[in-house]
């Protein structure tokens, strides 16, 4: 069963196409990562799913109901959209009580979610005294208030300290294990890789990938990072490797060679033959970030030229 489906979903803002005939199905249960470069259409998709904006064309369903009737599923969906939004002069508890009343929920839920996100003891303080991390926790508490089947969280770890990030990561995993579906939009690809079961990648409003995280990670390849003992030898080393038929990319202060671990000795021999002493030779695996950058563009310039090629799609 799909928790979210979109069919040829398109949204234009004037001449800009934010979503371009996006067709995707998101499975129920588990944690789903929604990733894409800035301006890829993630927020537009989330807003359509929540009924905040309407599509230009195409259709979408959430929990089996069309997004043109969000009242049918609103009580089953919890949201954290962009930055947490609260009334600064009110306490955390009062903010949650106002949302609980709007959703016709018993006020016991307020205590339950405050406990869940670790804000008990600080809940009577005005939100204006909260750090960004505490506001983020409060935003997650608001999303959990209705004990929802589907959670849509935009950058849930934004502003959290490392301990807070680990807590939220565990919380997301637990929510997924409980049988809920959690859609997480994030730029923290390491977080996405750590917690998500399913991945959706969008670029310029178009679907690049949708499938299990394991399937995406199958695309990873081994590579070897090497560096010369003396920086002046790096050009000579690169020339020798290219001459040897390897694909080489300069990444920070190392050369990244597309090669498997069993070619490490060959690389070392090629360097020695070129008169270069290596100070580093590390075999590593691509991570999600590497694959993501390869799919969506590594540099701003690549993105800009891609956008230009996309001819009027969202910037």
């Amino acid at each position: 069963m799909s928790v979210v489906t979109t069919t040829d979903l398109t949204r234009r803002f004037g001449p800009i196409t934010a979503l371009d005939r996006l067709t995707v199905e998101l499975p129920a249960a588990g944690v789903i990562g929604l990733v894409g470069p800035n301006g890829s259409g993630k927020s537009t998709l989330i807003r359509i799913l929540l009924g905040l904006i309407r599509p230009t064309s195409g259709s979408a369903t959430v929990l089996g109901s069309a997004t043109r009737s969000p009242a049918r599923y609103a009580s089953r969906v919890g949201v954290l959209v962009e930055s947490p939004a609260f009334i600064a002069g009110l306490s955390a508890r009062a903010n949650l009580v106002s949302l609980a009343r709007l959703r016709r929920l018993p006020l016991e839920r307020v205590d339950a979610v405050l406990t869940q996100v670790g804000l008990v003891g600080r809940d009577r303080e005005p939100v204006k005294r909260f750090s960004l991390g505490m506001k983020q926790r409060l935003g997650i508490a608001a999303a959990l208030l209705s004990d929802p089947e589907l959670l849509i969280l935009d950058e849930p770890t934004n502003g959290l300290d490392p301990a807070g990030i680990v807590e939220v990561r565990e919380l997301l995993r637990d929510l997924g294990r409980e049988g809920r579906t959690v859609i997480v939009s994030s730029h923290q690809l390491s977080e996405i890789e750590a917690v998500c079961d399913h991945l959706v990648v969008i670029r310029f409003g178009e679907l690049i990938f949708s499938g299990p995280m394991a399937e995406m990670l199958k695309r990873t390849r081994e590579h070897i990072d090497i560096a010369a003992e003396h920086a002046a030898d790096m050009d000579r080393l690169e020339a020798a490797l290219v001459a040897g038929g390897w694909a080489v990319t300069a990444v920070d202060d190392v050369l990244r060679v597309a090669a498997a671990a069993d070619q490490a000795a060959d690389l070392n021999r090629a360097a020695t033959a070129a008169g270069v002493t290596l100070s580093r030779l590390v075999v590593a695996q691509d991570n999600l970030e590497e694959i993501f950058l390869e799919m969506t563009g590594r540099m701003d310039g690549e993105l800009a030229s891609g956008r230009a090629a996309a001819n009027g799609k969202v910037a």
Partner: protein, 265 residues
């Protein structure tokens, strides 16, 4: 809709907001009574068409309705305060981003808007009560000090106080709706307040100065007439009907815009 009203009332319990609102009502009630008594006892009057205030004569002040005449005299000032508060509350949802959470939680947007209006009307009743109570406590010592006869003020006192309260309350609700409508359109409290205050203090005043242009139907004049229980230029019934028309038109406009427009920020 009751859920939306209760939710909005919870959000309105912001100490700074309530202190500002009720504090300004208190300030203007004291100020207008002091100035009004001073002008009346000195036989003076403001130039005709002065924006925002309409002082009674000495005879009017010494009549049974004189006890509450400060409320009508300062109705435009109270109106500006109310317009501003309604605008700040409405636009604040956009400024803070809270509107996203609210619409996601209650997608039937007309319920959200209606809940906000009802909650603000309830607080406007409280603000009107503050102004009425302060008015009574301010006008009695001021009149005594200025030697103005208060002998008639005990006549039909309940009816006079209740009538003045109702008239001011209705006028303030209309001012508030104006603030809500402009804030819904502009999504900015500053813009809404600037337009509202600018209209009353500048546009209407300029129009009134152009003698060939009839101004009795204009918003500020109409709401002043409601707050005063009718004037020589506009009867109470006409003023009420006009005010109701303005409010209905404004609420329809705000409702259509709020329901149909994207929530992008």
């Amino acid at each position: 809709m009751l859920a939306a009203v209760r939710s909005e009332l919870t959000r309105l319990r912001q100490p700074r907001l309530l202190v500002t609102w009720f504090g300004l009502m208190t300030l203007f009630a004291v100020m207008i009574n002091t100035i009004m008594i001073t002008f009346a006892s000195g036989g003076g009057s403001l130039p005709p068409g002065a924006p925002g205030v309409a002082f009674p004569t000495l005879a009017e002040l010494e009549s049974p309705s004189g006890l509450m005449s400060g409320l009508a005299a300062a109705s435009s000032m109270f109106g500006m305060v109310t317009l501003s508060i309604w605008a700040v509350v409405t636009a604040g949802d956009y400024g803070s981003g809270l509107i996203r959470l609210l619409v996601a939680a209650e997608p039937r947007r007309w319920r959200l808007l209606a809940g906000k209006v009802v909650a603000l009307v309830i607080l406007t009743a409280a603000a009107t009560t503050v102004a009425a109570v302060v008015n009574v406590f301010a006008v009695l010592p001021a009149a005594g000090a200025a030697g103005i006869s208060t002998a008639a003020w005990g006549t039909d006192v309940v009816a006079v106080v209740a009538g003045a309260w109702v008239n001011l309350f209705l006028a303030l609700c209309a001012w508030g709706v104006l603030g809500l409508v402009i804030a819904t359109l502009a999504r900015s409290a500053a813009v809404a307040i600037a337009i509202g205050v600018g209209y009353v203090l500048v546009v209407e005043s300029v129009v009134k100065m152009v003698k060939d242009v009839p101004s009795d139907w204009m918003l500020g004049t109409t709401l002043n007439a409601v707050a005063s229980g009718g004037t020589a230029a506009v009867t109470y019934g006409t003023a009420l009907a006009l005010a109701l028309g303005y409010v209905a038109l404004g609420l329809v406009l705000a409702g259509v815009v709020f329901v149909r427009r994207d929530v992008t920020d």
